[in-house]
């Protein structure tokens, strides 16, 4: 048992574990909406567009976490707004303007970071540094989770209707546009929360893998929502331990653990797994073509 408890002796590990559990659960629960609304590419673009905001905040306020938080928020909102403006006022479609803006804003972020007077390690924001969580980081993660989770749970019904049948939702008087914006806003917030843990590039893994896993195992949306949260939480914590024991980068280990859980479900899920499906088809084949 000692090997299991040993990591907890370090304060940085306690903090990291707490952060992992919160971020993992929040992103995991949110991932149900990302997967079903097919927002994966949108989420990726948003995550990358956080970088220039972080860079500007660094230039203006130094390493203060509240500054970084607002910088990232403003950058994400500007890119989201820019996408709407460009696709709304020209013949350029939404996916094209999204791709264009996120590549540009990510590049702008890299350029700005090179001007930063403080010695800033770019990889810190690209790939996260969960072992270096400060109190203020934990507070931000905590407050964001406290906001995102209840709102998602509260608006589950209308959001499910919007995802399943937007037109029927509109008929029933649901504010489709407003709730879609709310979902995007919550997406940006939880991405900011995971910025410290896994960084802008790996954040996508936490936002997709948990619900994609449950999607292969269950036909219930609440299962995807809460189960996604649980898988996100346990997967992230497990990934953190693995990175501690093997002395590997923590963000990458977290995402790899979540990916591993997904592949196990992909292969073995009794309901929609690849192998059980193959077996069923084979049984069916033998069952119907045999001599009667």
């Amino acid at each position: 048992m000692n090997w299991l408890l040993e990591p907890f002796r370090h304060e940085f590990m306690q903090r990291a574990l707490f952060g992992c559990a919160l971020i993992g659960f929040t992103n995991g629960a949110l991932s149900a909406f990302i997967v079903l609304r097919r927002l994966a590419l949108m989420a990726d673009a948003m995550a990358h567009s956080l970088l220039p905001g972080v860079a500007v905040a660094l230039l203006l306020f130094g390493l203060a976490p509240s500054g970084l938080f607002f910088g990232a928020l403003v950058a994400a909102l500007l890119v989201a707004l820019g996408v709407q403006i460009i696709s709304g006022s020209s013949r350029i479609k939404e996916d094209t303007s999204l791709g264009l803006l996120f590549a540009c804003s990510f590049s702008l972020g890299l350029v700005l970071l090179s001007f930063s007077p403080a010695q800033v390690n770019v990889t810190h924001y690209l790939f996260g540094n969960i072992l270096g969580l400060a109190d203020s980081d934990l507070w931000i993660i905590y407050l964001i989770s406290l906001m995102v989770l209840p709102l998602l749970a509260l608006f589950q019904r209308p959001l499910v209707l919007i995802m399943f049948e937007p037109s029927i939702a509109a008929i029933q008087g649901i504010w489709v546009k407003l709730l879609t914006y709310l979902l995007m806003g919550l997406l940006v917030l939880s991405m900011i929360a995971s910025l410290q843990a896994v960084g802008v590039i790996l954040a996508l893994g936490m936002l997709i893998a948990p619900a994609a896993t449950i999607y292969l195992c269950s036909d219930s949306f609440p299962a995807m929502f809460w189960g996604g949260g649980l898988i996100g939480m346990f997967g992230s914590c497990a990934g953190l331990f693995v990175s501690y024991w093997l002395n590997l980068p923590s963000g990458a280990c977290i995402v790899l653990t979540l990916g591993l859980i997904f592949f196990v479900a992909y292969l073995f899920s009794p309901k929609y797994g690849a192998l059980p499906k193959l077996l069923r088809r084979r049984q069916h084949f033998h069952g119907t073509s045999g001599p009667h």
């Binding site: 399943f164 037109s167 509109a170 029933q172 008087g173 036909d219």
Partner: protein, 247 residues
């Protein structure tokens, strides 16, 4: 009280191009109405206008004289099967439960009354045994009936079905036809966009001929004529479709 769906001078337009012109119709509950017309005749546009999904360029829609705009819960629109994400993680029961969402708004918990309404809808439509199946694991006809069950749970009185018989085999068609007949007998109004003219007389007791404007409306026995078919579909397609009326 006899409920009526009253459509007065209804025009629907997309980018100022009218899809349906100045339509006047009075439909009474208790009927099975076939909405007939070629592709692009404005059938789906009419449905969308009736539920308030597209704005009315002119005219009004009244149901039962209740109000200016129809109460969303009373008119149920069932989209074409191709418009549904069948891989969505929802079971038949979950789908029917969605019919209660509007009544519950976004926060009120599911009460016994709601559970009963869901079970009633499932048994009316005969899907109790399949209630825990995911919706893609149903046949085409069962999928249509599952959506009808949801509208029942919603307490709808008017059912707008967009090509419900498309792609169904004969037994499934008969079963869905029975379901529609029973809905009408219970005092509901069922309007179905339909393209297979051969089956019109057995499925519907009233028909609407629509091709951007109203060509004809009335009891199937009187209105479902070669002349109206030719006038709606431009060419006398499927001549002989009215033979089954015995004329």
């Amino acid at each position: 009280m006899l409920h009526q769906l009253v459509i007065k001078d209804l025009t629907v337009a997309y980018r100022r191009v009218p899809a349906v012109h100045h339509l006047n119709l009075v439909l009474s509950c208790g009927h099975r109405v076939g909405l007939l017309g070629p592709n692009g005749a404005g059938k789906t546009s009419l449905f969308k206008a009736l539920v308030g999904l597209v704005p009315l360029a002119t005219g009004s829609v009244n149901f039962g004289g209740h109000g200016k705009t129809p109460a969303a819960a009373e008119i149920a629109y069932l989209p074409q099967r191709s418009a549904v994400d069948w891989d969505f993680p929802v079971t038949v029961r979950g789908l029917v439960e969605m019919g209660r969402y509007q009544r519950l708004s976004w926060w009120r918990p599911f009460a016994q009354e709601d559970a009963r309404a869901v079970e009633d809808a499932l048994s009316t439509i005969g899907l109790n045994d399949l209630a825990d199946r995911q919706i893609s694991a149903l046949s085409g006809g069962q999928q249509q009936r599952a959506f009808i069950a949801r509208s029942l749970a919603q307490n709808a009185h008017v059912f707008l079905l967009d090509e419900p018989f498309a792609g169904l085999d004969r037994p499934a068609q008969d079963l869905l036809g029975d379901t529609i007949r029973r809905l009408a007998e219970k005092g509901n109004l069922v309007i179905a966009a339909h393209h297979d003219l051969k089956t019109v007389p057995e499925l519907f007791d009233q028909v609407i001929f629509l091709n951007r404007k109203l060509i004809g409306f009335g009891d199937t026995t009187e209105t479902f004529t070669e002349e109206n078919i030719a006038g709606t579909f431009d060419t006398p397609v499927l001549s002989g479709a009215t033979d089954s009326l015995g004329r």
